[in-house]
Symmetry: C2
Subunit: 307 residues, 2 copies
Amino acid sequence: MTGPARDPDPAAPPSGYFEVDRSADVVGASFATTTDPRLREILQSLVGHLHAFVKDVEPTVPEWESAIAFLTATGQMCDDVRQEFILLSDVLGVSMLVESLNHAAGGRLTEATVEGPFHMVASPERQLGADINVSAEPGEPCLVTGRVVDQHGIPVAGASVDVWQANARGFYDVQRPNEMPQGELRGLFRTDAEGRFHFRTIVPAHYPIPTDGPVGDLLRATGRHGFRPAHVHVEVSAPGLRTLTTHVFVAGSPYLDSDAVFGVKQSLIVDFATVDDPVRAASIGLSNPFRHADFPVVLRRDERAGG
Amino acid sequence: MTGPARDPDPAAPPSGYFEVDRSADVVGASFATTTDPRLREILQSLVGHLHAFVKDVEPTVPEWESAIAFLTATGQMCDDVRQEFILLSDVLGVSMLVESLNHAAGGRLTEATVEGPFHMVASPERQLGADINVSAEPGEPCLVTGRVVDQHGIPVAGASVDVWQANARGFYDVQRPNEMPQGELRGLFRTDAEGRFHFRTIVPAHYPIPTDGPVGDLLRATGRHGFRPAHVHVEVSAPGLRTLTTHVFVAGSPYLDSDAVFGVKQSLIVDFATVDDPVRAASIGLSNPFRHADFPVVLRRDERAGG
């Protein structure tokens, strides 16, 4: 290793040719002509990380062919009511990461989580206190209450609170159109003058994501299950405040520690307490005993926007 | 920043919950149950690099949705004769990287390059010296010669030399089934006792990869062209030696410095010299003048296998 360098190559290739050692630079340079600076940034970063991954694992040609076949099958599984690439993003934790990066919740702000694939229909507008279990599906009767405030604790009157959930067998209305009326277990509420909302429902069940496609094959090959713990989706918006998309998870549900899509955060797990109070049950229109979950919501008021 | 640490959280979440700062660890741990150790290694590496990419660019939700839509469209573009995900792998330099990692060519060994999508039909067996331009397509007449040796310079007799190429308008037979007979500009030859091969053809043209799908959209959005420089595909195999998949690139072709799939290596660019020699032309059955490319091939003999 001493003495003059050996084997300098007098016929070194021009800088543009592909070489393993600087493959990401060569390919990244091909995107230098991209006029949209954000697209250029994304693609050049993609190339860097993608080539680092390939060099890390050094796939054989058959392994690369398997990856091509998997991605192709994932695209071909998609149709109007099935989005297998979102499912893949979900089980790889990418959806949750994108959601978290876009909704960093410092301080007292309520944390966000994934929206999921079942917000495909508009929730029907309902009065505060309404029962979203409109067709009296079997299940444990439940009261959900909450209050929407901003980061200074100021109540947000008239905020939109959109909720949707699975039934006690783990199905959303759009999955069982012949059994559940559209809008079942969905509701769009407005908070009152004190920022409060409340509605009646049943306790949702845990359920599996669809596993009859390539993502299901991946889960089986890796010994992972496809279940999500029980939850109620909540999306809260109001003028001048950042929209929050999150879940209320049912404390004690199976799979809280191993959500297939990594959506659980400690702060979103809520006690659905059993209440044995015939008078109160009668006053709100539920059978006794019932469950009660209270979910305070703290939104960020975007003060730069003057909202 | 001095004094006791502030805000220790007495209700710190269990280690399994998702957090941005250790998202790749949480998701990677979900694959710990994978019984196939190679699959586990690949997926955990994928998660690490994929999450690093997402954190690097911090996509907005609409950008993430655009990525989902692009991948979905890429899968849905695929059919029996079109593989858009291979094309995507090609234009991102991944195909070339995988090929290069699997066929590192140290010392005198001939370098490999991508196989490409047009080796879908078997080349017809032909005698040494045959003309693979069987239907007399227009183009510059050309002689290709070569010799196959191992890394010690020992000739390899009886080696299989499979060649395929585009015509002078840039089309392969499989792309123009109504105009070009199947097997046109393809041939499977055997080297002679001295390891030599030779055949007649026409000089191929440069051509564009298919740009009517999502990959074409990507190239247009980034100001990249879709052309490949002119080349003849060569695949050489023999018992006891590692199979080589490579190209002979035509020196002076457009796009040598900007191959859309990054396949060019300096060592694979060959002078297709013009020969003005009526006697030699007549003896090999070409019109005069003709072009001549000589492509020596050095294969790796796998000595551990005793071949």
